[in-house]
Amino acid sequence: MTERRFVLLMLLPAVLFLGFMVAYPVALLVYNSFFDVKLIDPASRVWVGLANYAEVLTSKRILESAIRTLKYSAFALFFELVFGFGAALLFSAIAKHSHWHRTIFALPLMISPIVAGLLWRFLLVGNIGILNYGLAALGVISDPGAIKWLSDTDIVIYSVAVADIWLTTSFVALVSYAGLMNIPKDLFEAARIDGASAIKRFWYVTLPMMRPVLAVVVIVRGIDALKTFDLIWIQTQGGPRQASEVLSMNIYQRMVRYGDLGQASASATLFLAFMIALAGLAYWKIWRTDRG
């Protein structure tokens, strides 16, 4: 068998599968987005051109859910980075003694978002949420009913992000720790000999060396956060009054609850295009800085 045929044969199952289960559905998604088509009867459809897109782009509810998705992602990502990188620095300061610390930190790594969401809903829920009792006992809030985490429409989108932060800080911490351990020790040594203080060593050695790792963490986690569905769904189902409805959820509701396949497809197509553009931009940036 020639090399060429061997390569093609080995690729074939994956190409066929991804073609049928990813490329074809995506094509169908884009195709559907140009029709007025209902979920119950996808066979009868009316060509509407860009009307679905026009409606999506002018819908207040969709716009709001898109903004909410960005707020949620920025909030979650910021705290995951601060806590995760902070923990990684702490672990690397006690490098050899941090084995157990890191083990406990690793435990939530593979937990389902459903469990994390359920758990935090239980911690935050009105009346029996233990977090508020804890805060009240510490004197941070006046009484256990003071903060309505999941029913106050002003803060609910940030409250539901707490579960995300809890769940993924460990990922950020362990990946950052691996990155920190990969920085050559003699770099610090040289900086120390040159008289650089601990803060300067952090600023001029640690941070620049960690840049690629942190950039990857931001991309991977950022994309995950923008796609979030289950974690919020289990906590609030998007409520109260859509105050925690993110884009994935909006598309899901449009399709399942309102049965509007055409419009759901149009917003899902825009969402997909946005994600690919974002990822492409991010990869391009990293690729350039890696070589620049």
């Binding site: 994956a14 559905p25 930190f105 899901y252």
Partner: protein, 278 residues
């Protein structure tokens, strides 16, 4: 290593802070387990207590006795096992040639796999619903396995490609000189040397499927409903039945935590790989 100056007091403080941080990080999950172990009447007492006054398995009994729950766990396990097998069968050969036979087509292929990882589940789920419905595969195990495999394959591909890249290409060449066909070199020489990579990839595919929610919510209803859907519905049907819900969540997540504990090194390695590669 000259950094070990006599800063013992500082080290003790850092150690203590780190320990405190780690323990408070574990607290929420400990509370979940501790709630599940409370007698049913104590679960919703006001004010709540952190530890059970008396350990009871009442909640676990209720959950296991709930019609449909054992079946949902069974469905989850079957779907996850089939997803793992299918995605390995599909992804491993492709990952092998992508890593060892670098040419334009394999690079394009890897790029395609990377892009598919960006596709939001909901964007895939909307058309998949229609496709599976027309094939009569809605609410079947096979339908859900296909959907889960569509996200598991790109992940498995990138993990295995990174793994094969770490293997010496000379080995394959030596096998060929000794008379192996290309496929023989892959099947009889290279693959048996990669049990670690296969195990990590299998584990990731399994857990990704075990944890998956949105596809299961969209594509199943009665027959092939999985555990996370069951747990989520528990929530709405029984109102605030927190006792059984926490018990179900513990049953659902504890196996994953134990696996993480045992295979921590490999999992962190795989995640770092995943993070760096894709």
């Amino acid at each position: 290593m000259a950094d070990r100056a006599p800063q013992d007091a500082g080290k003790v403080v850092i150690n203590a802070v780190a320990l405190l941080l780690v323990l408070s990080y574990a607290l929420p999950y400990v509370y979940l387990v501790s709630t599940a172990l409370k007698p049913a009447v104590d679960v919703q007492q006001i004010p709540p207590s952190f530890f059970p006054n008396r350990v009871s398995f009442e909640n676990f009994g209720t959950v296991i006795g709930t019609a449909g729950l054992p079946q949902a766990f069974m469905n989850s396990a079957i779907v996850a096992i089939l997803t793992t097998l299918l995605s390995l069968v599909i992804a491993v050969p492709a990952a092998y040639v992508s890593a060892l036979y670098r040419r334009r087509i394999t690079i394009l292929f890897l790029l395609f796999a990377l892009i598919t990882r960006m596709v939001p589940a909901v964007s895939l789920g909307v058309p998949l619903f229609q496709i599976l419905k027309s094939l009569g595969l809605l609410d079947t195990t096979i339908g859900l396995v296909l959907a889960h495999t569509s996200t598991a394959v790109p992940l498995a591909l990138l993990l295995m490609a990174a793994f094969f890249e770490g293997m010496p290409k000379e080995l394959e060449e030596a096998a060929r000189i000794d008379g192996c066909s290309r496929f023989g070199a892959f099947w009889r020489i290279m693959l048996p040397l990669a049990p670690g990579g296969l195990a990590v990839t299998a584990l990731f595919s399994f857990i990704a499927s075990w944890n998956e929610f949105l596809f299961a919510l969209l594509l199943t209803s009665q027959n092939s409903k999985t555990a996370p859907i069951f747990i989520a519905e528990f929530n709405s049907v029984y109102g605030l039945a927190w006792g059984p819900m926490t018990a179900a969540a513990v049953l659902y997540s504890l196996p994953v935590i134990l696996v993480t504990l045992v295979l921590q090194r490999q999992i962190v390695g795989g995640l770092t790989f995943g993070a760096v590669k894709g």
